[in-house]
Amino acid sequence: MAVRRDPQHGYLGGVCAGFAARVGIDPLLIRIGFIAAVALGGVAIPLYALAWVLIPAEGPERPSVQRLLTRSDTWLVAAGMGCLTAAGLLLLRAWDVWFVDDRFLWPAVIAATGGALIWRQSQTAPERVAERARLPRQTVNRATAGAALVVGGALIFLYVNDALAPARDVVLPVLVILVAVAIILAPWWIRLVRGLADERDARIRSQERAEVAAHLHDSVLQTLALVQKRADDPREVAALARRQERELRAWLNNTRPSGEVTLASALEAAAAEVEADHHVPIDVVTVGDGPLDERAAALVAAAREALVNASKFAGPEPISLYAEVADDRAEVFVRDRGPGFAVDDVPSDRRGVRDSIVGRMERHGGRATVHSTPGHGTEVELVIEP
């Protein structure tokens, strides 16, 4: 377990309280130790401040420095970092701690500002890059501006300290030669880059085509072959067609990130299985989605049971499964258009519905209700509330 600040039980930043909680002793002892350390020498105070800034507080909050670095208003953060650097250096000068004159101060402030820009960008960029195919222009702008500030700061520092003069004698000829070479080689280079890009595009296209072909071959063609063989069994053919349709749709829409199992996708998978096992069409409509935690899994299991039940009584009409998930509340309705029954007339020794649907839901803090009227089908309502 990591050390966490505990501001709710502390007087200042909760650092002592946090350490006490970690070690498991009374915070008072740590505080006495801290005050003793202050009395012996002042070093405990900056240490405390450092811990305040760097150690995250109790709960999901991140350390202050990290929060500052990942804020969205990058420019403000950079400007703030510049001001902080200036303030720090001026303070050092005022205390005569370290000789800091203007020739060092301003380049350092500029470089710190640029550094903050680049830092901030590198902290947030990866997620954005993963989301989009290319870098957003804003990211490039900020990174460029940051780099320019850092390099500028370094150059100013060298210049005001007269360290540039010898460098200039070396850099100028090299620069001139580089420009000349660039002018000569540019056309070839541009053509090369363009050619590479074209080749890459063509490769991506052919890969995509191959992937589509492979998928169609594995799925649609296989199913069509099966349909031809089973042409004499219409029920089987219809079931095959529906399963294939479902798979192809899932593949075409690709609405959910792969690997992530959510409540809605689990319900859809359960419906697909019941449909395949019992040869009844099931229309699934979902609104919203949520994570598949323990309670949601119980809901899916109960819904599956309700679907299996419904499949025994449903007529030719499809079974409807409707799920709505919003703000921790999940509702599922399973409806068939079978003969229906009078709920009160069911003998109390029939355990199927009671245990696997009603009981399961109640064990997980939800509820299940069966609505049925003879002649109007049956609907099972499953609810999980926060």
């Binding site: 229309d283 609104v287 703000d327 409806r335 109007h376 609907e379």
Partner: protein, 212 residues
């Protein structure tokens, strides 16, 4: 009998729909391209156009747009194999008065055509789900001053029942209102979808990466 024009780029499918609807409604023409469809609909003036969403040359959306210029009162029923929410919502927003999937039975389709012809809106369970989803995307506490931006509790309740597979008359019985009132609620939802600025809808589209 209600007159219908079928617009679909697959001739086999057009023939199939024609056969299924035979005797239930009067199919007076069909078309396989956008230009053909526009010319055909303007010339024949059917009660209802059965419109495929996915067609070359702009698809059903383009047909809707061009016909609306010449014949604003024309009624459309979208009939599609696609159930991608963006396709469906787009065609409804463009003015189609209903959406059904191609696996619908002939009788149900004829019934839907008649209802559209009578001025009613036709929401399949799946469409109701999409609409609820679209409006639910804005359920976070946002300042919403335009009443078009929200569904009323009753409209939401009616949509949920449609999504659960209930027929209009069953919904009316369950909610203790008349079938006409159910129809009115559904039409109101349709109007909101078609008229409202829908900043929730656009945010929903952004979430699904439909818009950059």
């Amino acid at each position: 009998m209600t007159t219908v024009v079928i617009v679909d780029d697959h001739s086999l499918f057009r023939a199939g729909v024609r056969a299924e609807l035979d005797g239930l409604v009067d199919v007076i023409g069909d078309a396989s391209t956008v230009e053909e469809a526009v010319a055909c609909v303007v010339a024949l003036e059917p009660d209802v156009v059965l419109l495929d969403v996915h067609m070359p040359g702009g698809g059903g959306l383009e047909v809707l747009r061009q016909v609306a210029e010449k014949r604003p009162a024309q009624r459309f029923l979208a009939l599609s194999v696609s159930d991608a929410p963006e396709d469906v919502i787009a065609i409804i927003r463009a003015g189609a008065r209903g959406y059904v999937t191609k696996t619908i039975s002939g009788e149900e389709l004829a019934d839907a055509v008649r209802r559209i012809s009578d001025g009613d809106a036709v929401f399949s369970p799946r469409l109701a789900g999409f609409v609820l989803d679209a409006f639910a995307a804005g359920s976070a506490p946002v300042e919403v001053d335009d009443e078009l931006e929200q569904l009323t509790t009753r409209e939401r309740e009616v949509l949920r029942h449609i999504a659960r597979g209930y027929l209009y008359k069953e919904i009316a019985a369950r909610l203790n209102i008349s079938t006409k009132t159910v129809e009115a609620h559904v039409s109101a939802v349709l109007r909101k979808l078609q008229l409202s600025s829908r900043h929730e809808l656009s945010r929903w589209a952004v979430q699904r990466r439909l818009v950059d």
